[in-house]
Symmetry: C2
Subunit: 534 residues, 2 copies
């Protein structure tokens, strides 16, 4: 499986840090001798840029924003006293609120202790809390219940999905704390979820405002609504925190503390990792090392898929979290010099060894367009093992499958990185997420793209708004001409929008199938000649 | 957003089938005029091959196996009367058993009605049941409970993951039916899960055998164990059913019927889809159309990533299911002519519109190395809508986001296919899964790879077995020399395996950290000079 040269290479290419409980093995990346030397000046430039960014330079030029998620865990680094104070006060407020909810000092409007929370958010306002919840779930006193409040999430505008979650909560509504998270305060999916839940609570005679908190930017639409309706509490985030790097802000901390997760240890892990990953000594900086490996693999070897394989069930959401962090940060049309580059790094994966029974076949035999990032937690949490064979536990097999896959990838000439956490705790989760934040920042520096904006996503939102506006026009038109039936083509013509025939056709079909819009249909000779009316 | 040429193109490139409740829009793929003509003879050849395969030709030459998942829903097609009878009998047995469990005719050994099942399986023995369960979950009478038995899954050899699932079941063990699924009967992760659960049950004084069923090949190790230990029941699958296409066998049907899912409608959907996708008239065959589009995108345009975006929470597992079906079937080193081709098609995605807030930024602006497969369910299940704005529901927004993303992709020159299900039912799920099975088969035919084996995955398993064997050697060695401490290097030398130093180093660290192996450590000057002993 290996030879003694491998052992020397392994020793040379294994970064370890006992304090952080972290190791990174980059021995399976075939970067050439002299690669670190070759990259030294670009790397120095990038680390300089990072330093300025941390001091509060506008690092997101087109949105004129600072990038401050590093301050969230070390407020003294904030560029001014106001920001420093706001960070500290927010953490204190979260601790106080969390304590009060858990101790029963804050009760629901009907006088009950909160036993559950329902988080309404999407993207950066949901993925971090979902990952943390799943990774760090603490066993409660009763079997099947985690410690603290049980977590539920609404992260879409799918009415059937909303119904499913609300059905699970139906018996516990009065003891459910609702947490609405939207940085801008105007995210449509989140607003819809909030309105749905509000209407559900109200229909059951519950005081929605009295059991709901908001996490948003001060003065946002959501903030104003929460203020006006006298919601239970409001927590702030700031324009210098990006959604995808908000896990150490109130977005991550409030849900975590409600689940008995040690948020100060989590912040400490992130802070300690930040210190280490600020180092200009590349071989002592795991983020710089990882970024350099990504750079080699993507830029020199054209391996644009990164497969995340955590060998631990509780880290299954890591790939979804990193999908957002990496792809939204790096998937850009233009670089900082305004040149068209169409950059990107695709992230996917679920967990090992489960995925070995799914797509590892392709990794080993198929297109070599990827590298694997294997993630392990060295220590099982379980104290009393079951031996499945003489001297062998399930956990030994988990490790064996990781090593087997790493060796098989190696044998087949496929690249892999192995990231090891000593154990899975609030502290090491802080380390892990800060490590990836920094890696993405450094890598973006190396390829010179703005990691802190997401200009592309506006186009899809515009298209959605256009659809909704057209829906209103169509409904009004049909209502005004009650009883008169139109084909899509005719209706588009009547509305003076023949170029929208396709969309109007789909829209009519959607309105017809979802009966509550009261649109009816006369069948036509073919699919496209059906006539619609109200 | 579109123009009247688009409308004509849309009409020309929209496949619909009312009976199946299915539509496929391929208008956003820029295949050239004459493409269907160009592909006609290769397609005819492939359809001929499919016909022979369905008749029982050995379609998996290196494993000398027939490929018979199409017979599972139309037993009359089976190549002989024995197979036909076995298929029918198995379905009858599943119905009988399912009925008996649900009616309380079959009770647990302690005399309780089964309220839950715990499925132990991995890969093809878990993904189908997981998808079906999530997609078709039927609301039960009590809030928060689905109809029939509540579903739990163990799909890995992670002890901490196993503990988490068992903790959820702790209060309900006596009413939990255990379903162990392994086609070969020797899958290690599944065996470990089974042994863990068995030990957990036994420790609590429960009769594991009396509440456990096996789904496996007749005569397998698992079958013999179940027979010997007198398990509650055994259901068979056959060597001509591949794991990744086993969802219409007992693997998919037994868990489904226990959850009140209509398995006969599910089979009917698959059967009806099979009839349609057998057609040699390409424009009337949605699987052939989809395969041709994949062929154009992958082979001509080098878009090797397929992003699955179902706009429906309940279809979130579809991408994981297809990851296995597609990547394990298509990710191959050699084609049928034994030429090195390194084929593959990478599949990932979660759900819309959620993913628009994660990685759609990269899809729109970044590397154009993918195509999107948008999936919609046209009809919301919900009867009483909440209007989030005048005339607009959450469901309208879900549709709007899909159309907005499709339009944005189009504007940016990104390819997309849109697959629509009229509604989400047992029947249409049967249609959907059969459609993808057939599409993958046809596409594999077009690129001439064997879609029915997975030779690559053996290498990883061998590596794992090697690790476990080495662990035993190391433990025995240290025990025999009780108290004597060895560095990894020294130990590798003593074992006569210096080429395994790296693996032995990792192994020692793993044994040391997981205390139950009783390996101790003397710290060395550096990481690599630590000495281990028992």
């Amino acid at each position: 499986m290996s030879n003694s040269n491998n052992w020397e290479r392994y020793k040379n290419c294994l970064y370890t840090n006992e304090t952080l409980g972290l190791a990174l093995d980059y021995s399976q990346i075939a970067f050439p001798e002299g690669y670190f030397q070759e990259m030294a000046s670009l790397m120095a430039e990038t680390m300089q840029m990072m330093e300025e960014l941390e001091k509060g330079t506008i690092a997101n030029p087109d949105e004129k924003r600072m990038v401050g998620h590093y301050w969230l865990r070390e407020a003294t680094l904030a560029p001014n006293k106001e920001i420093e104070a706001e960070i500290r006060q927010t953490i204190e407020k979260i601790q106080e609120f969390g304590q009060a909810v858990k101790s029963g000092k804050i009760l629901s409007p009907t006088g009950e202790r909160f036993s559950r929370f329902l988080l309404i958010g999407i993207g950066g306002s949901a993925l971090g809390p979902q990952l943390i919840s799943d990774a760090l779930m603490i066993k409660g006193k009763e079997p099947g219940k985690s410690a603290g409040l049980q977590a539920y999430f609404l992260d879409n505008t799918d009415p059937d999905g909303i119904d499913r979650v609300l059905d699970q909560l139906a018996d516990y509504l009065a003891e459910t704390l609702v947490i609405v998270i939207s940085k801008s305060g105007g995210t449509i999916e989140t607003r819809n979820g909030m309105l749905e839940v509000q209407s559900y609570f109200t229909a059951r005679g519950l005081d929605f405002a009295g059991q709901t908190v908001a996490i948003t930017t001060k003065g946002s639409k959501l903030d104003l609504q929460a203020e006006k309706e006298k919601w239970l509490a409001r927590f702030y985030i700031w324009d210098w925190v990006g959604g995808r790097t908000s896990v150490t802000s109130a977005v991550g901390l409030l849900p975590a503390i409600l689940q008995e997760i040690e948020i100060m240890a989590f912040l400490q892990g992130a802070r300690d990792c930040d210190v280490v990953t600020r180092s200009a000594k590349i071989r002592e900086n795991p983020a710089a090392l990882m970024a350099l490996m990504w750079y080699f693999l993507v830029q020199k070897e054209s391996k644009r898929n990164m497969v995340i394989l955590p060998y631990r069930d509780s880290l299954q959401l890591l790939s979804r979290y990193l999908q957002q962090l990496v792809m939204e940060s790096l998937g850009k049309e233009k670089n900082l010099e305004d040149k068209i580059v169409h950059e990107g790094l695709t992230v996917f994966g679920n967990k090992g060894s489960t995925d070995q029974h799914a797509y590892v076949q392709q990794l080993l035999d198929g297109t070599n367009d990827f590298y694997a990032l294997l993630v392990e937690v060295k220590q099982d949490q379980r104290a009393h093992p079951v031996f499945v064979e003489k001297d062998v536990t399930s956990g030994d097999y988990l490790k064996a499958f990781l090593e087997g896959t790493r060796a098989a990838l190696s044998r087949k000439g496929r690249a892999s990185l192995t990231l090891s956490l000593q154990e899975l705790t609030s502290y090491t989760m802080g380390v892990l997420l800060a490590l990836f934040e920094r890696t993405v920042s450094i890598y973006a520096g190396l390829i010179k793209v703005n990691a802190y904006h997401q200009p592309g996503v506006e186009l899809g939102k515009k298209g959605a708004n256009h659809y909704i506006a057209l829906q209103r026009q169509v409904l009004e038109f049909l209502r005004e001409r009650k009883g008169a039936a139109y084909t899509a083509e005719k209706l588009a013509e009547e509305l003076g929008q023949p170029e929208e025939t396709e969309l109007i056709f789909k829209l009519l079909e959607h309105l017809y199938l979802n009966k509550y819009h009261k649109v009816k249909k006369e069948k036509g000779q073919d699919l496209f000649s059906g006539k619609y009316f109200i």
